[in-house]
């Protein structure tokens, strides 16, 4: 057959595309369960990291089952509603109006008592940033945090996921003396803010730092009624 004829070219291209599509679909379906498992393990690791428990991917499942004693879903009124907390995608929830959002809560038993863990999601400079924040039983003091990002600048904005940055949050309060939710202010050295609500921003990563501050305030606000209920 003439290799330069139109028919040959069309048939060749069609057969090739169908073959390649079949191979790729098979590979994608075959590997999907393992990939999902990896994402799940990573999420468990991140939840545990927010209460300062470092685990390897291998032991994460077991430690998670041991430490995270309870998880449930609440609405913006702070009432517990139906749902599986672990599988909730915050990206989907944050696209809804506040009243319709499903907000996951994880309770984790640590050596220093029960901690409440809330997931966070916001916007950095280049893409989404997310994380978990763990509160002490007083529902005011931060016990630990864990942040991650999709593509912040290495060495600058990406520093939010380093322990040095995350550890600053430990011990800070999210409510002021009058009971108003102020969250945590990620401040440059020139900005003044009360010490118990302030952490140092990342130099060269101002937009990421401010995005993180915004994320904390926004997401803690959506949990505010739940937090107030637990407090009283």
């Amino acid at each position: 057959m003439d290799r330069n004829s139109n028919n040959y070219t069309f048939i060749y291209a069609s057969v090739m595309v169908i073959l390649v599509a079949a191979i790729l679909s098979i590979a994608a379906i075959a590997l999907k369960p393992m990939q999902n498992k990896n994402t799940e393990i990573e999420k468990k690791q991140n939840i545990l990291a927010s209460v300062n428990i470092e685990t390897t991917a291998k032991e994460a499942e077991q430690v998670y089952a041991e430490k995270v004693v309870n998880s449930y879903v609440v609405n913006s009124e702070g009432e517990v509603v139906e749902g599986d907390a672990f599988s909730i995608d915050l990206k989907v929830q944050k696209a809804k109006p506040l009243e319709q959002r499903l907000l996951p809560v994880f309770e984790c038993q640590t050596e220093s008592g029960l901690k409440y863990i809330f997931p966070l999601r916001g916007v950095g400079l280049w893409g989404p940033i997310w994380g978990f924040i763990a509160l002490n039983e007083d529902m005011n003091t931060i016990f630990g945090t864990n942040f991650d990002h999709q593509g912040e600048t290495p060495g600058l904005g990406a520093e939010i996921s380093t322990p040095a940055f995350e550890e600053q949050f430990t011990g800070k309060s999210i409510f002021d003396a009058s009971g108003k939710l102020v969250s945590v202010i990620v401040a440059k050295s020139s900005e003044s803010a009360p010490e118990e609500h302030k952490v140092d921003a990342i130099s060269g990563g101002t937009i990421t730092s401010k995005g993180l501050e915004q994320m904390l305030l926004e997401d803690l606000t959506s949990y505010q009624k739940f937090i107030t209920r637990k407090k009283s």
């Binding site: 290799r3 330069n4 060749y12 090739m16 590997l31 990896n38 990573e42 991917a57 593509g151």
Partner: protein, 216 residues
């Protein structure tokens, strides 16, 4: 080429060793620079990227070489691209399933293997006109040449940029200014421009040592 040619004849070995030095894809042909800058801030992703590119270029070479007598000339570039893209997606899926943390670090750069000029270059220049075994060797050779540069750059960038190698700390914590020492990591090292400078230095060293590459 006779059918009885030994698998590792001198000519075939040259296919394997040439790209390491005389025709290195990065330092001599200056191909694939983009990914070389992007993934070399640390050694581990650099090594994984090097292995992925080597695997993709070797197998793409073999596949194109097997098909070389059937590919319609008018769509040969598209055929090459489809083969590369399919292999890259496979590599990406496998990385996500088996070495998740590394695949996260490489993120978009695995996808960008598709646009790595080394691949198209080898397919067009070599695989379309040579037998599968030679094409395979050529792919491995070029992958290794790419790998060598990536690993050297990754080694220096991680050492001076983060004070560690393969994630293990080399520069003692007590040396750092933050801990009362005298040392500070070079922040420039972890940014892409420094990778370009390191590649430039490698080219300089290579050219001053290899007489074949000296131009008049």
């Amino acid at each position: 080429m006779s059918e009885k040619e030994a698998l590792f004849s001198k000519k075939n070995l040259k296919l394997l060793t040439d790209p390491l030095n005389d025709s290195n894809p990065i330092t001599v042909q200056v191909l694939g620079i983009c990914s070389a800058l992007a993934v070399t801030a640390q050694l581990k992703p650099a090594v994984v990227m090097a292995i992925s590119v080597t695997a993709v270029v070797a197998f793409a070479n073999v596949i194109i070489s097997l098909l070389r007598n059937t590919i319609p000339n008018r769509i040969r570039i598209i055929v090459q691209l489809v083969v590369i893209a399919a292999l890259v997606i496979l590599v990406d899926q496998v990385l996500k399933a088996y070495v998740y943390d590394v695949s996260k670090q490489l993120s978009v750069f695995v996808g960008l293997i598709i646009t790595n000029c080394i691949l198209m270059g080898r397919l067009e220049a070599f695989a379309l006109g040579n037998k599968p075994w030679q094409s395979f060797l050529d792919g491995i050779g070029n992958g290794a040449g790419y790998a060598a540069i990536l690993i050297i750059v990754g080694f220096f960038r991680e050492l001076f940029g983060s004070g560690s190698i393969w994630g293990y700390r080399i520069v003692p914590e007590s040396w750092y200014i933050a801990n009362g020492g005298f040392y500070e990591n070079n922040g420039m090292m972890i940014l892409p421009p420094m990778a370009l400078i390191v590649v430039g230095v490698i080219i300089w060293v290579q050219r001053s040592r290899n007489r074949k590459l000296i131009e008049n």
